[in-house]
């Protein structure tokens, strides 16, 4: 599905060397945007059509979850992935619900695993969007059909 399309990924992490290794690992497969903070991350969201947001949880000013929670009203569609050091999910499950985190991955991430997760997440993004569009198209087509039928009945 839609493999020709380039996936726009925003990666937010306060550690620059993480941003750089992410870029080095993925820039050939995806359109990679990086941000060193939540504020910068939001700026990118405002100008680019981002499909997948990946954020580190531990950042100095705003945590990953706080960042994800804060952007939900304005940017509900991108799929959100959280990178966290916690091994125990029950500790973060509430936060995961609040930030509508689709996937969480433990740090340090494995390149193959992260790539697979980005691709799976994009399938969901693309299907949600496609189904919404198809539903709208179907409504329009149905109306056209109805109008034509009516015309045929009363020419």
């Amino acid at each position: 599905m839609t493999e020709q399309e380039f996936i726009n990924v925003l990666y937010v992490d306060d550690e620059v060397h993480n941003l750089n290794s992410f870029k080095a690992g993925f820039r050939r497969k995806f359109n990679v945007f990086t941000a060193e903070s939540a504020i910068e991350g939001r700026k990118i969201l405002e100008t680019e059509d981002i499909h997948i947001i990946i954020t580190d949880q531990r950042m100095p000013v705003t945590t990953g979850i706080e960042f994800l929670e804060s952007i939900i009203p304005d940017f509900p569609d991108p799929i959100r992935i959280l990178l966290t050091g916690y091994a125990d999910i029950t500790a973060v499950i509430d936060a995961i619900n609040r930030g509508k985190v689709y996937r969480y991955l433990q740090k340090p991430w494995m390149e193959e695993e992260l790539r697979i997760n980005i691709e799976k997440s994009y399938e969901v993004y693309a299907l949600r969007k496609a189904n919404k569009q198809l539903t709208e198209d179907l409504i329009v087509a149905n109306k056209e059909l109805e109008a034509l039928l009516k015309q045929n009945l009363h020419p």
């Binding site: 999910i89 695993e113 799976k120 299907l127 496609a130 539903t135 059909l145």
Partner: protein, 154 residues
């Protein structure tokens, strides 16, 4: 979505794992369990399964081998694998080949597994809905085209 109960098939040769899974999830999902690939095939042939979860280490057939064997006859259920960390490379290979959608490391945590089942079911539903919507739109467009052509002729 959400109204529909999710049909899950869980395959594991260890009976106490099957029981623990049933105890955790039978109130939220429709749970079917199988002690072997053979029993699982029997269930797949009569029930409409949405999600298949299988243990990787089983005596006759591994989980990946089982999932690979059913791919042609049952391409639609979302396939999940339960595995130890040591098998990760084999798992990633299986994911890349399309045999496995997602893996969960053992021992599984109830919340984590539940969330992953729900996510997987969304994918199942979205794919199905996409297919159905596309077919419907195609049909209506054909009808429209037919009627417009008739109109031009008359």
């Amino acid at each position: 979505m959400g109204e529909q109960k999710i049909n899950i098939l869980y395959v594991d040769d260890e009976v106490h794992n099957l029981n623990a899974f049933k105890a955790s999830f039978r109130r939220i999902f429709n749970v079917y369990t199988a002690e072997s690939a053979e029993v699982a095939l029997g269930i797949l042939s009569v029930e409409s399964i949405n999600i298949i979860i299988t243990d990787q280490r089983m005596p006759v057939m591994t989980g990946i081998e089982f999932l690979e064997s059913i791919l042609l006859d049952y391409p639609d259920p979302i396939r999940m694998l339960l595995t130890g960390y040591s098998d990760i490379n084999a798992v990633i290979d299986a994911i890349n080949k399309g045999q496995v959608y997602l893996y969960i490391t053992k021992p599984w945590q109830e919340d984590e597994l539940r969330i992953n089942i729900e996510r997987a079911f969304e994918v199942f539903s979205l794919r199905k809905e996409n297919k159905e919507l596309t077919e419907k739109l195609l049909m209506i467009n054909q009808q429209l085209e037919f009627m417009l052509r008739q109109k031009l002729i008359s």
